[in-house]
C-alpha cells in the first residue's frame, strides 16, 4: 500500500487526502444545502449545525461521558469474561488432539447460532440487568478468540518445537517460550475481532434491553423521540470509541510482529 511510502516529500499524499475527503465533504455540503435552500423542512433529518450543537450540548452536560462510560464498562466486562475462557479453550484445542475430537464439533455447531439468538435466553436466565448484557457480549467475544488461538497454535512450525527440545525445554517452557510467542499474531487478530464484535453487541444489548445509560440506550431514546441528531451523535461516538480500542490492539499486533522479525 501507498501508506508505506507516504513521506513528507511524497507529493502523492496530499492528492490522496484530497480525494479521500471529496465524498464526505460533498455529502456534508449536500446535507447543509438541503436546509439552507429550504428544500425540505419536514424531513426527520436534522441540519448539520443542529447535530453539531447537540453534540456540544450532550458533551457539556456530561450525558455523553456518562453513557460512554456505561457502554465501556459493559464492553470491558463482557470482552474479558469471553476472551479469557476463549484463550484457555483455544489453547486446549491447539495443544491436545483429544480435546479437538471432543469439543470441536460441538463448538462449531454452537458457533452457528447467531449471537443475538442467545439474547432472549439470557433474559430468561439472568433477567434484563447487567448480568444478561455482559453474558451476551461474552458469548460473542468467546468464539473468535477460541478460533484464532487454536489455529495460531496449530500453525506453529514443528521445527520451532524441535528447536525447543534441543534447548531442553520442558512442556511449560515450550508453551511459554516457543508456542505462545509464535502464535501471538494470530491470537491478537482474534482478540481484535472479538473486541469489535463486543462493541457491536453492547449496542445490540442496550437497544434490546432497557438499561441504565449507555450509548445504545441514548440512541434508542433518541429514536423514540424522533431526535435524529441524538441518534447521529451516538453513531459518531460509538464509531470513534470502537476505532480507538481497535487501533490500540493493532498497535500491540505491530509490536508483536516486530518482535518476531
Amino acid at each position: 500500500m501507498a501508506m508505506a511510502r507516504a513521506t513528507a516529500f511524497d507529493f502523492g499524499a496530499p492528492r490522496r487526502v484530497l480525494r479521500g475527503l471529496a465524498l464526505p465533504v460533498g455529502a456534508l455540503a449536500a446535507w447543509w444545502a438541503f436546509y439552507h435552500f429550504d428544500l425540505a423542512t419536514t424531513l426527520a433529518f436534522p441540519p448539520p449545525a443542529k447535530t453539531l450543537q447537540t453534540l456540544v450540548e450532550l458533551a457539556k452536560s456530561g450525558e455523553l461521558a456518562y453513557n460512554l462510560k456505561q457502554s465501556l464498562i459493559r464492553v470491558g466486562e463482557g470482552f474479558l469474561s469471553g476472551a479469557i475462557p476463549g484463550l484457555a479453550v483455544g489453547m486446549l484445542l491447539g495443544l491436545s488432539a483429544w480435546a479437538r475430537r471432543l469439543l470441536s464439533p460441538s463448538l462449531n455447531a454452537f458457533r452457528q447460532v447467531p449471537v443475538v439468538g442467545w439474547l432472549p435466553l439470557m433474559i430468561v436466565w439472568f433477567g434484563i440487568g447487567e448480568v444478561s448484557k455482559v453474558a451476551f457480549i461474552a458469548i460473542g467475544a468467546f468464539f473468535p478468540v477460541v478460533l484464532s488461538t487454536s489455529r495460531g497454535i496449530l500453525a506453529v512450525p514443528k521445527e520451532y518445537v524441535e528447536l525447543g527440545q534441543v534447548y531442553g525445554y520442558g512442556p511449560l517452557q515450550q508453551l511459554l517460550r516457543v508456542v505462545l510467542p509464535a502464535a501471538l499474531p494470530s491470537i491478537l487478530t482474534g482478540l481484535r475481532f472479538s473486541l469489535s464484535l463486543s462493541w457491536m453487541l453492547v449496542v445490540a444489548s442496550e437497544l434490546m434491553m432497557l438499561s441504565a445509560g449507555g450509548i445504545g440506550s441514548m440512541m434508542a431514546q433518541g429514536r423514540e423521540l424522533f431526535q435524529m441528531d441524538v441518534v447521529i451523535v451516538g453513531m459518531l461516538v460509538i464509531g470513534l470509541a470502537g476505532f480507538a480500542t481497535n487501533y490500540s490492539i493493532r498497535w500491540l499486533e505491530q509490536i508483536a510482529s516486530r518482535g518476531r522479525a
Binding site: 469439543l103 455447531a109 447467531p114 443475538v116 518445537v161 445490540a204 437497544l207 445504545g216
Partner: protein, 270 residues
C-alpha cells in the same frame, strides 16, 4: 506436549470421530434432563427436553414454525442479494482501480467503524420498522465482509497473470472475467460466506427488535409470554438454519474452485 501430531485432523478415523463428537452433546442433554427431573431450577427456567421436543412438533404440525421460517428466510434473501451485489461490484472496483480506492476507500473505512447495530435507530427513524428497514439492515451486514474480501482478493491477483492476459490479446473486460475474478474467487467466497452468516445474524436481530413474524420474533414473543419452550425451539431452529447456511455455499465453492487442489471449502471450521 502432544505437539508433533498437529497435522492430525479431529476425525482421522471417521467412525470414531463421530462418537467423540456426540459425547459432549449427549452429556449436555443428560445434564439438562437431570436438572429438570430433579427440579434444581424452576420449570420456567429449565424446560424439560421432552417438552421442548413436544412444542417443536406441535409448532411444526400447525405450520407456525414454517411461517416464521419463511418470513425470516425471505428477509435474509432480499437483504443478502442487495448487500452482496453491491459488495461484489464495489469490491472489484476498489481492488482494480487506484482512483476509485482513493475516492471511496477512506469514507468506507470510516463508515465501517460504526457497529452494525448502531445503524438500527437511524434506519428505523428513516424507514420505519417494516420490511424495508430489515432488508437494508441485512444488506449493510452483508456488504462489509463481501466488499473487503473481494477487494483483497482482486488486489492480490499476481501482476504476471495480467501480463499473460494482455499478451494473449484480452481486453479490459475479458481480463476481468477470465483472469481477475477466477483467481480472486477463494477470497470472494470467504466474503460471501461470512456475509451470509452476518445476514442471518442481522435478520434475527432485526426481528428480535421490531417484528411481528420470523424466528427472531418467535423467541422474543415466547419470552414475553413466559413460554420458554418456544424460546428454546426458536434458538435451536436459528442455530440449525445458521449451520445449514454455513454449508450452503460449500458445494458452490467446490464447483467453482474444482481446478484448485486446496479449495475444498473447509476453511471455516475449528
Amino acid at each position: 506436549m502432544s505437539h508433533a501430531d498437529h497435522k492430525g485432523t479431529p476425525g482421522e478415523a471417521l467412525g470414531a470421530g463421530w462418537l467423540w463428537a456426540l459425547l459432549l452433546p449427549l452429556a449436555l442433554l443428560l445434564g439438562w434432563q437431570a436438572a429438570s427431573a430433579l427440579k434444581l431450577y424452576p420449570e420456567q427456567l429449565v424446560v424439560p427436553p421432552a417438552k421442548v421436543l413436544e412444542s417443536f412438533i406441535a409448532l411444526a404440525k400447525d405450520g407456525t414454525l414454517w411461517g416464521h421460517l419463511k418470513a425470516s428466510l425471505s428477509r435474509v434473501f432480499a437483504g443478502y442479494l442487495m448487500g452482496s451485489a453491491a459488495g461484489l461490484a464495489l469490491g472489484v472496483a476498489l481492488g482494480r482501480s487506484q482512483i476509485v480506492e482513493e475516492y471511496l476507500g477512506p469514507s468506507l473505512t470510516s463508515l465501517r467503524q460504526i457497529p452494525l447495530y448502531g445503524w438500527v435507530p437511524f434506519l428505523i427513524v428513516l424507514l420505519g420498522v417494516g420490511d424495508g428497514f430489515k432488508a437494508v439492515f441485512v444488506a449493510i451486514g452483508t456488504f462489509y465482509p463481501v466488499v473487503l474480501n473481494t477487494q483483497e482478493g482482486v488486489k492480490r491477483v499476481p501482476e504476471k497473470y495480467l501480463e499473460v492476459g494482455q499478451a494473449f490479446g484480452h481486453g479490459r473486460f475479458s481480463v476481468l472475467a477470465k483472469i481477475v475474478l477466477p483467481s480472486a474467487l477463494p477470497s470472494v467466497f470467504t466474503g460471501l460466506r461470512t456475509g451470509l452468516a452476518m445476514a442471518w445474524m442481522s435478520a434475527v436481530g432485526a426481528e428480535v427488535l421490531a417484528s411481528a413474524s420470523g424466528l427472531g420474533f418467535l423467541i422474543s414473543w415466547g419470552r414475553q409470554l413466559l413460554q420458554f419452550d418456544l424460546v428454546m425451539v426458536g434458538v435451536i431452529c436459528i442455530g440449525l438454519v445458521g449451520l445449514a447456511m454455513n454449508n450452503l455455499l460449500n458445494p458452490l465453492e467446490a464447483y467453482f474452485l474444482r481446478w484448485r487442489d486446496n479449495g475444498n471449502g473447509k476453511s471455516n471450521s475449528l
